[in-house]
Amino acid sequence: MTTLLDKEAAPPRDVPARGGGRSRGRRNWWIYLFLLPTVIGYGAYTVYPLIASWWYALLDWPGFARTGTFVGLENFRRLFEDDLFWNAFRNSLVFLVVAVPLRVGLALALALVLNSRRTPFRGFFRTLFFLPVVTTGAIVGIVFTLLLDASGPISLGLVKSGLLDSPANFAANAGTSLYAGIAVWVWKWLGITLIYWLAALQTIPQDIHEAALVDGAGAWREFRHVTLPLMVPFLVIITLIDTVAALNVFDLMQTLTAGGPSFSSEVIEIYIFRTAFQATVPELGYASAAAVLFGVLTIALAVGQAVGVRWARGRMGTS
């Protein structure tokens, strides 16, 4: 690769470096060479799949066939009547609505403690809380199937401490499986949100804190009237980052519960995976239609993100 580039690199020496009227296109051919890997790669692996999904969504395409037959909006009509699709959709929304505030809120509380100069061993604690972030989601899911087993340590510990009457497996119970997944997800990712918050808190100048002390504000009042208003723009950004992250939970949920028992924790990604790759008759078109509906939701969130960031930037500019 490098040798190929070097050979072509011989620059046209006679062209003056800043010659105004000279054909810019000829002189700047290398710009497009530099862009080539990204344009081809991004085009083929990000933009094309986005467009292709919409096309696939209009096809009846059993997985073993070379290609599908056009059926128009039939897949979408079927999706609207598919209880399992809406079940998965609802599970994904519940996941979002419960897990994101938990992750953002707990991380903020922890960040406030770890940001205080009076807290001992701050760096050490930060490292411990960050540790789960670097681990593999799929493996965390498997390890927690053991930890959450009815005869495993979590159940035993809860029974021994009197918080639980009899041993229970929260991941294998239809009423709690989704929430078990949420708890593990918050555990795994809290550390990264903690780092976001610590970075945000670092932007508050130390003299503001001192001014609050001089004015006799207690810890709570300082947080409520000084820290919190300054943190609002970051709250928007961090919440939106974590919201998008909450749509990427396939690895953890597939290995922890595989959507079960009886679809009680099946999020939309597992639904798509199951329909496209695991069914006895894989339905690529139908799964694509589900992905497209899912994508519309994500795009709506991305638009919310753009609006939110713009608003946050405005606030940062004025404060």
């Binding site: 490098t2 070097d6 690199a9 620059p11 020496r13 700047n28 710009i31 497009y32 530099f34 862009l35 890997p37 990204t38 081809i40 790669g41 991004y42 083929a44 692996y45 990000t46 799949p49 986005l50 696939y56 403690v113 770890l114 009076r118 807290t119 001992p120 604690f125 809380f129 960050f130 540790l131 789960p132 670097v134 593999t136 989601g137 493996i139 498997i142 927690f144 199937t145 053991l146 495993g152 340590p153 510990g157 555990w187 780092i195 976001y196 970075a199 945000a200 670092q202 950004i237 980052i241 998008v244 749509l247 396939f250 597939q254 798509i272 790759f277 690529l284 992905a291 994500t298 969130l301």
Partner: protein, 275 residues
């Protein structure tokens, strides 16, 4: 309550919470050294009766985690290399030069910033199949690194934009062409961004699950650690200690990289959110 006492109290509460936080890892390491019947048979006791290192040997050779490890390393390094080269080249051009279509390119980047992988996995699989790259390392690496990673490109663009214009002018006077300037001057200067992109991409590629799973459904020789773990669960569902050992083997490299580059990890992530 005096300040000193209060800070000690905070420390103790934090220590308890942190102990709960890392408990799963402690339990995992302990289980990996027990016998399988001991894992669930001995209640909350974390200390193994005797250390059974053979669990690791079993996971490494019999179950095939040695080859899963090689696959994961190859795929991770390939993806990291691809993302760094591609993002640095594009970031350099985006950060320092004007060209036709620049606005359109940035617009496309921003529009597609947050596409979750579950959304495009079907067309990516079809594309890879048509390129005859399904069930190859290259196919997985392209799937993971060729698209996406807009953040890496934008980080490079932001960094290159801030470098002084004189750098190129001097190099041009010395007769260097744009490609020499980039590889000899610009890319070395951007090492902090390269470190950040390395860390973020390494984490992503080492831990990714869906794409390797789908791409290797029909070829066990290509399994990564994450995929291998799930297969292990399906096939040997009662070998708890072997499973725990395999999990430790899979998690250690990423934790080791984190331990070595800890400071930079935190700065990278903090820097990314401030952008």
């Amino acid at each position: 309550m005096t300040r000193r006492r209060r800070s000690w109290l905070t420390g103790i509460v934090l220590a308890v919470v942190a102990a709960v936080w890392v408990y799963p890892f402690v339990w995992l390491v302990s289980a990996s050294l027990k016998s399988s019947s001991e894992v669930f048979g001995k209640g909350l006791d974390l200390v193994p009766a005797d250390l059974r290192w053979e669990n690791y040997a079993r996971a490494w050779t019999d179950v095939g985690f040695a080859s899963y490890m090689i696959n994961t390393v190859v795929i991770t390094l390939g993806t990291v290399f691809l993302v760094i080269v591609r993002s640095a080249l594009a970031g350099y051009v985006l950060g320092r030069h004007d060209f036709a279509g620049k606005k359109a390119l940035i617009g496309i980047f921003l529009l597609t910033f947050f596409i979750p992988e579950g959304y495009t996995i079907i067309p990516i699989t079809q594309l890879t199949d048509q390129l005859h790259l399904l069930n190859t390392h290259v196919g997985v690496i392209l799937g993971l690194g060729a698209g996406g990673h807009v953040a890496a490109t934008l980080l490079y663009a932001g960094y290159f934009r801030k470098l002084p214009k004189e750098l190129e002018e001097c190099a041009e006077l010395d007769g260097a062409g744009p490609i020499t300037i980039f590889f000899r001057v610009m890319l070395p200067l951007a090492w902090p961004i390269t470190a950040t992109v390395f860390i973020l991409t390494f984490l992503f590629a080492w831990n990714v699950y869906l794409l390797p799973l789908v791409f290797t459904l029909s070829d066990p020789d290509l399994r990564t650690l994450a995929v291998g773990m799930t297969v292990f669960v399906g096939e040997q569902s009662t070998d708890w200690s072997g499973l725990a050992a395999a999990a430790v083997i899979s998690l250690v490299p990423a934790v080791a990289v984190f331990a070595v580059l800890q400071r930079r990890f935190v700065d990278s992530i903090a820097g990314a959110v401030k952008q």
